[in-house]
């Protein structure tokens, strides 16, 4: 099924991907994560062509079902689907009655009746993509659910680190910011630890969830320590609501203690990478001089995001049910 135009990567020979859905990295093996990354690498080149399109998903229908606002992730999935020649429909349901959990399944039943192939789902409540995946015969890709998982974000992070550092195993990665409320942090923790990186999470105690170290990471409140030893710094967005919930006294205080500016970066290794899932809160977690500076790979992350989402769409669409149909 792999279009010949993509090349003759070894991922095309066997297809060990057997899952109907991509719900999170927690449930994936290191092998499955590597397969996703390898597939993404083979797709990256398509976006560099004058005609940025291959017929891999021609005739497939993808629905972007977003119950929470998103521009970046939604656009990235949309372009990914289009470059694979799938038909894609966007449904934004936030703020409407559809945002209620009990009607999510009704919405999905309606979409199923329209015979769609892949549902890309974002929802403010953890577990909604899993809930839908259990009910739907269509494949489900989690585009972020509550504070649970955001697997394609973590995959693009892994891809970017792999690209820039040549490896993931043995690297020291510090994730700095609101770990407690971050689905990106959780997916990154699963992905990085499964591939052998040493992960430190750094935040004030109010932004670290209970027993986080039992996920196999080191936790610290000391941002300088987190910077000093890291090969990669991943910054997370600090949201204004956190101040209202008394999780940080003020955004100013957060910037003073945890914000990454040039001065603080002086403690870092000379080859450190600065990553951020966006959108950046400039002047809070990240100073503009750093965000736009030489260590930053933030825009490479966005580019890789497209390839990762193409890989995710491609692999879930090729899960056994399709192969059986053509057998």
């Amino acid at each position: 099924m792999m279009p010949t135009a993509v090349g003759s990567g070894s991922a095309t020979q066997t297809r060990p991907w057997t899952k109907k859905d991509l719900l999170g990295l927690r449930e994936l093996s290191a092998e499955e994560i590597r397969l996703l990354l390898k597939t993404a690498e083979s797709f990256r080149e398509i976006s560099l062509r004058p005609i940025k399109k291959v017929p891999a998903l021609r005739g497939k229908t993808v629905v972007n079902l977003f119950f929470e606002p998103s521009t970046r992730t939604r656009t990235s999935f949309e372009l990914a689907a289009k470059r694979l020649s799938a038909d894609i429909v966007n449904i934004s349901a936030q703020g409407s009655s559809l945002a209620k959990g009990e009607t999510v399944l009704d919405t999905v039943r309606n979409l199923e009746a329209l015979k769609v192939d892949i549902l890309v789902i974002r929802h403010a409540a953890a577990g909604v993509p899993a809930l839908i995946a259990r009910q739907a015969s269509a494949s489900v890709i989690n585009a972020g659910d509550g504070a649970h998982e955001h697997p394609t974000q973590a995959l693009l992070d892994l891809m970017t680190i792999q690209e820039k550092k040549g490896r993931i195993k043995g690297l020291r990665v510090s994730i700095i910011g609101d770990i407690a409320h971050s689905r990106v942090a959780r997916s990154d923790i699963w992905g990085l630890t499964k591939l052998g990186a040493r992960v430190t999470v750094c935040a004030p105690p109010t932004l670290l969830p209970a027993q986080i170290e039992q996920l196999g990471v080191h936790a610290t409140h000391d941002v300088e320590a987190a910077i000093r030893e890291a090969d990669v710094l991943m910054l997370l967005r600090i949201q204004h609501e956190r101040q209202e919930a008394q999780l940080v006294p003020s955004l100013r205080e957060y910037r003073l203690r945890y914000g990454i500016d040039r001065e603080r970066l002086a403690h870092a290794r000379p080859d450190v990478l600065i990553m951020h899932p966006g959108p950046i809160n400039r002047g809070v977690e990240l100073d503009s001089s750093v965000a736009d500076g030489p260590y930053s790979v933030i825009l490479d992350q966005v580019t890789n995001g497209l390839a990762v989402r193409m890989a995710a769409l491609y692999l879930v669409s090729g899960a056994p049910k399709v192969e059986e149909e053509f057998a």
């Binding site: 927690r26 209620k100 959990g101 009990e102 999510v104 399944l105 929802h123 409540a125 953890a126 577990g127 909604v128 899993a130 809930l131 659910d145 509550g146 504070a147 649970h148 998982e149 689905r183 959780r186 969830p209 209970a210 027993q211 986080i212 039992q214 996920l215």
Partner: protein, 435 residues
């Protein structure tokens, strides 16, 4: 009314300290005689001489125990008859071995004035299934601002007062409520949950909530209120009964308070005794309950508390919901477990089989103590008592299938589990009503 003779069972009546082969004679809905069983069983369905014209029920191999008493049942009527009615709730109760249930006041309208109490009493009377004892609200509308008319509610038949579902968060109001309730000699049942500490939480705060990215409710949301309430009970001399205890800290606080002579009693639930937060698994809303299922350490402390008498009784916190409500995502789904029909078997499987409690101790926790706390005459099979009786097959094994519940709440974290102990028959005032 027919005379009944229940023969050749093992009579277990902790209130009269009987445990052995006794026959029960029932006349006019009351226990008329308790006597040692004769050697040979009566012929099946026969009218042996000894039965003296009574219908004979052969209880060979069964335990004959007082009908169970539930201090904590949500019946949803009036207001949410689509999720439970007095009728379906009472049918679920008697199927589970309960002949008396205490109805929590978080109905719509709530049980905060005489009219609702009378409605429940009349409807329960008409049904003639289980005895339903209302629990009135502590504050008007369960809003936590103004006290209800305690005297009128108790006179109308309320056995206790509670704002269950909400804690009485205002310490001053709780002080006054405990003081004022003293003259009625009845408990205030506290849903011990600090609303700010628990805000937005959907499960126990721990490794599982961190893994799933769900908002946690720390054990301290319960224990800070327990701590405050035992202090206020000490201050006022009032009686606080803590509902559905879930944490080790709360057990320790109540143990200390009881040693000091504070008037505090408490209950825990079958699900808190049997399960931990791991039961949430991958966002399983069947295990979403408030207070949340906690850690193995908490579970062990609850069992220890039952054994040493810190925890007085086991109550179901039967909380039925519609299927579609429980089918929502974890954040949106309501808290609650449909518990009346599994309570006994969960307790047998969790407590009796591993020899953590004896049968006598379990019946104490499920019938005698809750009746004492409710201040009612149930929970006893002494001569003259109402013939509210459950026959239990202690060895029967069965698999939980919520679709077969008679409750409208067809949801249970025990679905698919095979449990030990089944209710064979239930008599309410000498009339067979369930089993």
């Amino acid at each position: 009314m027919a005379r009944l003779l229940i023969t050749h069972g093992r009579l277990l009546d902790p209130a009269s300290q009987r445990d052995g082969p006794f026959d029960l004679l029932i006349e006019k809905g009351k226990i008329a005689d308790v006597r040692p069983s004769l050697a040979a069983p009566a012929p099946p369905g026969g009218r042996a001489g000894a039965s003296n014209g009574a219908k004979v029920i052969d209880a060979t191999g069964k335990l004959v125990v007082p009908g169970l008493v539930d201090l904590h049942t949500h019946l949803r009527q009036p207001g949410r008859e689509d999720t439970e009615t007095l009728e379906t709730g009472c049918r679920a109760a008697v199927r589970g071995g309960f002949t008396t249930i205490c109805a929590m006041p978080n109905t719509t309208p709530p049980i905060d004035h005489r009219g609702v109490v009378d409605f429940i009493a009349q409807e329960a009377q008409r049904l003639g299934l289980a005895s339903v004892r209302p629990i009135g609200a502590i504050t008007k509308g369960r809003q936590g601002r103004e006290l209800t008319d305690f005297g009128e509610l108790f006179e109308a038949g309320c056995v206790a007062l509670s704002d269950d579902g909400n804690a009485v968060a205002d310490s001053f109001l709780m002080r006054r409520a405990l003081e004022y309730a003293r003259m009625f000699g009845r408990p205030l049942i506290q849903h011990a949950e600090d609303p700010q500490l628990a805000a937005g939480g959907v499960m126990h705060e721990g490794l599982r909530s961190t893994t799933l990215g769900l908002r946690g409710i720390p054990a301290e949301a319960e224990s800070v209120i327990v701590s405050r309430d035992v202090a206020l009970a000490g201050l006022t001399g009032g009686w606080v009964h803590v509902a559905h205890l879930s944490s080790a800290q709360s057990v320790a606080l109540i143990r200390q308070a009881k040693r000091r002579g504070v008037h505090v009693t408490c209950e825990t639930t079958p699900h808190h005794l049997a399960l931990t937060h791991e039961a949430v698994g991958e966002f399983d809303t069947q295990a979403k309950v408030n207070p949340p299922l906690r850690t193995e350490e908490d579970r062990a402390s609850l069992i220890e508390g039952l054994r040493d008498g810190t925890i007085d009784c086991i109550a179901t916190d039967h909380a039925p919901h519609a299927d579609w409500e429980k089918a929502a995502d974890f954040d949106a789904a309501p808290f609650g477990i449909s518990g009346l029909e599994t309570a006994l078997a969960v307790c047998v499987t969790t407590l009796i089989e591993p020899k953590l409690l004896t049968w006598g101790q379990l019946i104490e926790k499920l019938a005698v103590a809750p009746a004492t706390i409710a201040g009612i005459s149930a929970g006893s099979l002494a001569v003259g008592a109402d013939a509210d009786i459950a026959l239990i097959d202690p060895a029967a094994r069965w698999t939980v299938d919520p679709q077969r519940f008679v409750s409208k709440g067809r949801h249970s974290p025990f679905a698919g589990q095979t449990l030990t102990g089944a209710v064979a028959a239930v008599f309410r005032r000498g009339v067979e009503v369930g089993g």
